[in-house]
């Protein structure tokens, strides 16, 4: 056990590429967590996707032992937090487990807008924030200017900012000293009833579900019977430990400490982020504040390109779900896509990550249908239904009115992009609530329908602001909306995978755009193909793909047979990746591209 005065729990806030992972690696190396050889790869971002996208999906911690200049040895818990708005709740739980943060800013590039949202979140958790100016050995480094930016834009005192270069190993000890001297030690009472926050959990094939905890009061140890206060289940702890970053078994984790436990839990959905863990005997009187039930907000269908892969997809989704309780899935049948799953996600990035992992780690070719949110259908008979899938849209005459989820979005954006950003929000039926300026950057608060946001809003935001805008949102409930189901018909047959629920005012423009896109994406056939967008029986947009008129190889003699046949075989193979609607073969790329349409058109 370590006394509270010798514990520091902190996270690192940084813009992508400002050196968060490198700094974390240096801190681990300096305190002896890993050998140089083991350090050859970045340690904290485990998944390929995390490394490639420079984002963290799962919270990770590492425990460091540091002997400070004052001669005392401290236990430092470094928490790596997820960094995307889809995982805002997970971030808030990770931050709640710490008392401070290092704010890493690139000495040449200065403060980036995206960092602000995280800094403010950290400030809201009463964190002590230590500015670290990284990459000071770059020729373009201007630490004084960056210090001024930190003071002007964020409002933090930067006079004692640590100057470092994680890459070159400069200032690493200064960072560690600042952690010890500036970040306050945790509070807590080891003799009180157990209150531990479930920070994150993941599935390990050898250990079962591993739970990352921050003990607030009391002590957690092997053999203890514990209870999840929100989840309601009880478990026997069989292992207590920490990551250094290698797994190390401990006797106990006491108040103020961060570590992991295992309790022979097989189903990750029993371990809810933010839940309070207490003992079965002598439990805590009340749960810790801040727990939220995580609900999927974006839904889409995932179908195997090759129908024969359905079982493989089921298997793979089940395996992924072992590690991620925040997405849901149930079987779905589509007239043309065959058997697949309707899946729910925390947001679009979450959707993309799951889709990418299925493709990459499980080697599956997938067709993803248009993302949709959960609508509340109020029927004329007084009942209410939740609608996850446009294909289940009820008969219009039976609908009284429809409600859709709304969000409040807070967007930080440099001045120069403000105009285009306001237009984007306006186009997406946004209601402006607030607009303030913070040192050359605007902070805008908008209320927006979520269905306008799941539809490529984030991509547009990034492209409009050239990556400088940051975006954070939370749901603010349901509101009535003038919503209609728009169907896309190819050769007079509805393509269920392309139908979507849209606001009546936006339907025509979106329908026209969709038809134009499909016209370019569907290859010409032997006959002409009408493409229509329709609401109910009314066609609101139409395009026609002209029939193919000439396609003939001029020369084919005895020496050409093999080559020409191979070309045909290739075509046949390509055909497997297409779907038939009204005897029209639609390539899989057309689905994906049509659904990923921008506003340019």
């Amino acid at each position: 056990m370590t006394d509270l005065a010798h514990i520091r729990n902190f996270s690192i806030i940084a813009h992508i590429d400002h050196g968060k992972s490198t700094l974390a690696d240096r801190l681990i190396q300096r305190t002896g967590g890993l050998t140089d050889r083991e350090m050859s790869e970045q340690v904290l971002d485990n998944m390929d996707i995390e490394r490639e996208r420079g984002i963290t999906i799962k919270a990770q911690t590492v425990r460091l032992e540091y002997t400070a200049k004052n001669g005392e040895t401290y236990t430092l818990n470094l928490m790596d937090t997820p960094g995307h708005v889809d995982f805002a709740y997970e971030v808030s739980r990770s931050l709640a487990a710490c008392e401070g943060a290092l704010l890493v800013v690139d000495a040449a590039q200065g403060v980036e807008a995206q960092t602000l949202a995280n800094v403010y979140q950290s400030i809201e958790h009463d964190h002590e924030i230590v500015p670290v100016i990284n990459k000071i050995d770059l020729p373009a480094a201007d630490p004084e200017k960056v210090k001024a930016e930190i003071e002007d834009i964020i409002g933090l005192d930067a006079s004692e900012a640590v100057l470092a270069s994680a890459k070159s190993g400069i200032g690493i000890d200064d960072v560690l000293e600042a952690v010890v001297n500036k970040i306050p030690p945790p509070k807590g009472d080891r003799d009180a009833p157990l209150e531990a926050m479930l920070v994150d959990s993941w599935y390990d094939p050898y250990l079962g579900v591993v739970i990352l905890v921050r003990v607030v009061n009391g002590v957690i140890r092997k053999g203890l019977n514990i209870k999840f206060m929100a989840g309601g289940t009880e478990h026997l702890i069989d292992r207590v430990g920490c990551m250094r970053p290698k797994i190390e078994t401990l006797d106990e984790i006491a108040a103020g400490e961060i570590g992991f436990i295992t309790a022979q839990i097989k189903d990750i959905s029993e371990t809810r982020v933010g839940d309070t863990i207490t003992t079965v005997k002598n439990p805590a009187k009340a749960a810790l504040p801040g727990f939220k039930e995580v609900q999927p907000v974006v839904f889409c269908g995932l179908f195997p390109v090759d129908a024969a892969d359905f079982e493989k997809l089921r298997d793979s989704i089940s395996k992924l779900r072992l590690n991620d309780a925040s997405f849901s899935f149930e079987m779905e049948t589509s007239a043309a896509l065959g058997f697949g799953f309707r899946c729910g996600f925390l947001g679009l990035l979450h959707l993309e990550i799951i889709q990418e992992r299925l493709t990459r780690e499980y080697d599956l070719d997938l067709i993803t249908t248009a993302p949709s949110v959960v609508y509340r259908m109020h029927m004329t008979d007084g009942t209410t239904q939740e609608l996850h899938n446009p294909a289940d849209y009820p008969d219009v005459v039976k609908i009284d009115f429809v409600e859709e989820p709304w969000i409040e979005a807070v967007i930080y954006v440099p001045d120069e992009y403000l105009g285009s950003l306001l237009k984007l929000c306006q186009d997406r039926r946004g209601i402006q609530k607030n607009l303030t300026y913070v040192g050359g950057r605007a902070q805008i608060t908008y209320e927006l329908p979520l269905n306008e946001v799941v539809f490529d809003f984030y991509d547009r935001l990034k492209s409009i602001s050239r990556g400088y805008a940051s975006f954070d949102y939370h749901q603010i409930g349901y509101r009535e909306g003038d919503l209609v189901k728009m169907s896309i018909l190819v050769n007079n047959e509805p393509v269920d995978a392309l139908s979507m629920i849209v606001h009546r005012g936006a339907a025509e423009a979106r329908g026209r755009h969709m038809c134009e896109r499909l016209k370019d994406l569907i290859p010409r056939h032997l006959f002409k193909i009408p493409i229509q967008a329709a609401i109910g029986g009314k066609v609101i947009a139409r395009e026609t793909i002209a029939a193919l008129r000439k396609d003939v190889t001029a020369k084919c003699y005895g020496g050409d047979i093999s080559r020409k046949r191979k070309l045909l075989d290739k075509q046949k193979e390509g055909k497997k990746r297409m779907r038939e609607y009204g005897s029209v073969s639609i390539p899989q790329e057309a689905f994906i591209a049509a659904l990923r349409m921008g506003d340019e058109g």
């Binding site: 032997l526 000439k550 020369k555 093999s562 020409k564």
Partner: protein, 375 residues
């Protein structure tokens, strides 16, 4: 096995050319000197190898292709014809030689005829000096026409090739050119729309945007005009690009399209015999060292696909009985029922009296129709 009695076609590949044409993707090579005696010996040895594997079959045709086989001396051509006669024997054989219409080669025409060649196919390619230059041809029009004249005097059967739908060519220009071509009175014409083949100089130019072919509508218009004009002149199309006086079709090429057996010797030559696909090393020098065939057995399905792909090129279409005999599969079981229904409904194919064939509207869509029937 009724197949044994079927006549056999022999293809002999002469891989050398004076220069390489920018549109040509055939196995042709430019060499400063060729040891013709060694080549003669090797080609005959290759024929002997094939003859051992096709006992009891007689040749219905022999085709000298290339490359430029008219660069061979009449002595070599004669020796190969003699060897073919000795190894298989001819059954009233059509013996064709592809020739360049140059003055040098025209001087050999008498010798080729004396050696036994009874049909010549001239690579005239265009009746316009600018076009000939653009196509990278070594001859000019006057030389070409003179060679055609010599050929018509020496050979009982003469065909020539033209390439149309060339860059910048208008339908009117092609109409005039084809009118002139039909007036020469040959019994056979091969009229190819210019196609950009991968790996050619034209492919590079097209990729760089320095070569643009006529749009779909214009090229379809020229295709249909070609059909109408040749029919009116008594040389109707019998295959996508081949036109002949009825009865004067290329017997050798019909063997390919009817998916009959053919033996291919020489570098890069392909063959189909007894359910096997044969190939040879493409590079002349490599082949000369190891003139050994590599052989792959073809599955019934593959044979059926090939027979379908080749047979539909012919206006006569596919004889279902012959198809079944050649592939061991019934045509109705091989093609997609929905594909057949769709293409029939669209008026692109017809299936009557034991034949499947493409209609006039179906012909220019051959590739797409085949893909639909095979899906």
């Amino acid at each position: 096995m009724p197949e044994i009695a079927q006549p056999l076609a022999l293809y002999v590949h002469w891989p050398f050319c004076v220069s390489k044409c920018p549109y040509c993707d055939f196995n042709s090579h430019v060499r400063e000197r060729v040891d013709e005696a060694a080549w003669r010996k090797a080609l005959i040895a290759d024929m002997e190898y094939e003859a051992r594997l096709t006992p009891g079959r007689r040749l219905s045709s022999l085709f000298f292709g290339g490359g430029t086989p008219s660069l061979m001396t009449p002595g070599t051509v004669g020796a190969i014809i003699e060897a073919a006669d000795r190894l298989w024997g001819f059954a009233d054989a059509e013996i064709t030689l592809e020739a360049n219409p140059s003055s040098v080669e025209a001087e050999r025409f008498a010798g080729f005829a004396a050696a036994g060649v009874n049909r010549v196919s001239l690579g005239l390619q265009a009746l316009d000096d600018t076009a000939l230059k653009a196509l990278g041809r070594a001859h000019d029009l006057a030389e070409g026409l003179a060679a055609l004249d010599v050929a018509q005097r020496h050979f009982p059967r003469v065909s020539f090739d033209l390439i149309y739908a060339r860059e910048g060519q208008t339908p009117e220009e092609w109409e005039a050119e084809l009118t002139r071509a039909l007036a020469f009175g040959t019994e056979h014409l091969s009229l190819y729309q210019l196609t950009i083949e991968p790996g050619t100089a034209f492919a590079t130019r097209a990729r760089l945007g320095r070569l643009t072919l006529p749009e779909e509508d214009a090229s379809l218009g020229m295709f249909e005009m070609t059909r109408a004009m040749t029919a009116a002149a008594g040389l109707p199309a019998y295959e996508v690009s081949n036109h002949a006086r009825p009865g004067a079709e290329s017997r050798h090429n019909l063997t390919y399209w009817r998916y009959g057996d053919y033996v291919g010797v020489g570098p890069g030559a392909h063959g189909r015999r007894g359910g096997m696909a044969t190939t040879r090393e493409r590079l002349p020098e490599t082949w000369l060292k190891t003139p050994v065939a590599s052989e792959t057995p073809l599955e019934a399905n593959t044979r059926a696909d090939e027979a379908l792909m080749m047979g539909l090129r012919l206006l006569e279409g596919i004889d279902e009985a012959a198809f079944a005999a050649r592939t061991g599969l019934a045509l109705g079981d091989v093609i997609s029922a929905s594909g057949l229904a769709e293409t029939t409904r669209l008026g692109l194919v017809a299936r009557t009296k034991g034949r499947l064939w493409l209609t006039d509207t179906g012909q220019p869509l051959l590739n797409a129709v085949i893909a639909r029937l095979m899906a």
